[in-house]
């Protein structure tokens, strides 16, 4: 049986189409890669891989709060001491703005950890929270023993300086003016300058990206 030249021709045309599609796909893939690479990274990566550690702290109503209460949620975390007179309040105004911008996003919680727990008792934090309009359900203000607080901050978020010079925060934490974003798996994804007015929108944008990112294999 002789080979039909036309069918050979068809096959080769089919192959060409397939190759063409493959090339097209390759270009699209490459372009997609370029496009993805061109997306502006938001925030700063953690100094090392960081995961939200277990903790047991106390909120402003005196209720115990543990790591288990915050699973499968995006967390926006900052570090406070209520005695800070002017500049730190800027960070909390930005937290308040994030609370407002994410009002309809039930998977987003805000967490403020005090670094001056002897001053920042639950009642002091309650008053502080009212000042910034912190929703008791959405924005947790946490205090506790200093060792417990410092342990969770150091292991999950901020490096501590061992320089003899004090940093600007008690506990000698570095970059305590930053706001951290933790994803639903408890991984710290990025830090933002808490003093910057761009930060609230950038954090909302990052959470949006994280919510839509494909689960990694």
């Amino acid at each position: 049986m002789s080979i039909d030249p036309s069918s050979t021709k068809e096959a080769s045309r089919g192959e060409r189409v397939i190759i063409g599609v493959m090339i097209a796909c390759a270009f699209i893939g490459l372009g997609g890669g370029w496009w993805a690479a061109g997306v502006k990274p938001l925030g700063l990566p953690p100094d090392r891989p960081r995961q939200l550690a277990d903790f047991a702290l106390t909120d402003r109503s005196g209720r115990a709060v543990t790591r288990a209460d915050l699973t499968n949620q995006f967390l926006v975390v900052n570090f406070v001491f209520t005695s800070c007179s002017v500049s730190c309040q800027q960070v909390n105004h930005h937290m308040a703005e994030i609370q407002r911008l994410t009002a309809a996003q039930l998977d987003v919680r805000l967490v403020s950890l005090t670094v001056d727990p002897r001053t920042d008792t639950p009642s002091v934090l309650a008053e502080y929270g009212r000042k910034f309009g912190a929703d008791t359900n959405r924005w947790l203000l946490l205090t506790g023993g200093k060792p417990a607080l410092y342990a969770v901050i150091e292991s999950s978020f901020l490096p501590r300086s061992d320089a003899p010079e004090w940093s600007v925060m008690p506990g000698n934490f570095v970059h305590a003016e930053r706001i951290a974003v933790v994803d639903r798996a408890g991984t710290v994804r990025a830090f933002f300058d808490g003093m910057s007015s761009r930060t609230p929108r950038e954090i909302v944008e990052l959470i949006h990206r994280l919510r839509t990112e494909r689960a990694k294999p």
Binding site: K40, P41, G43, L44, F81, S83, C84, S85, V86, S87, C88, Q89, Q90, D116, R118, T119, D120, T121, S123, V124, K146, P164, E165, W166, S167, V168, P170, V174, H175, E177, R178, D193, M195, S196, S197, R198
Partner: protein, 368 residues
Amino acid sequence: MTGNSEIRRPEIRMKSERRNPKPEVPAASSSPQTTGRLRTHSDDSDAFEAPRRTAKTRTVSRSGFGLRASFGHRVSGFGFLLALLLAGCDRPPAPGSAGTTRSFDTRGVVREIAPDQSKAVIRHEEIPGYMPKMTMELTVRRPVELRGISVGDEVTFRLHATDDTHWIDTLRRVGRAPEEPPTLTPFLTPKFAQELKPGDELPDAEFLSESGQPIHLKDFRGRALAITFFFTRCPLPDYCPRMNKHFREARDLLLVRPNAPTNWTFLCVSFDAGFDTPAVLRSQAQFYRGTNTTGWLFASASQEVLSEVAPGIDLMVMKEGESFSHNLRTVVLDPQGRIFKQFDGNQWTPEQLADAMTEAARRPAPGQ
């Protein structure tokens, strides 16, 4: 904003000595001479030089005072920069191209306005391919456009530049730049030390008293001593002024309570020794203490002494612009100089302090 500038920002906020280096001035204009003549400065060094502003008060800009003296001297550098920029380009300006005008739409924050509104100092955003983000004095082509615009306003405008001159026009106010809060910087250099507990002895420390004499904690052995830390310029009523008022009320309670001990002293220590001289302390004392000076002293602590004392009592003091951010720690010592009770923050009452002083004063004196 690039990721790089994001990285630098927090460091700038944290420590003044790690400030951003001056930005790279593009192309051939990076010689010190050029930048010197231009008198430009980076966004962040500008923030550093800006005076402290709080949400409540807006102080007169320090650079505003310099404005009258400096206007007219800065601007000539602009054309020079431009010439260098162009000289650094691949295509040098052809003869006769001096008339070529380049225009850029950009935005910025007004930092100063010349009295005759002919020039404005504007901290402008990066102008891609032309100039990094910086603060410059710019000639306003139609001064009338500055009407209704004040320092601190965010504006959009068009910058036009030729080889030897520049001007801006189509100025429009688009909003108000957010207030820049003062940044926190370290003030103390304490050695790491354990926090002290009740019963622990507070190590001796020397302060400068309101009468200009050095005083020591050990001078008060045999008495109950209440110490709190403050500074006279403290702007927040709930902080230092509240401490002083509480001290007054507690002292007055002890003075009138029947059978109250008499071996006690209240001591208010300023950590702003540079400003709170003995004379300033005396006037503060007069204000709170009135004519009855019994049992209440004011003093100041040097940074070195405070650095020794602070960690043990969990006191934190940071510079915040020209002011301070600090927490409140009030310590009651027994007659042997040991911590009897500590009052943290401002949620305690004069009665509680008077009670603690009464009880502490009845503790055994040294050698008993």
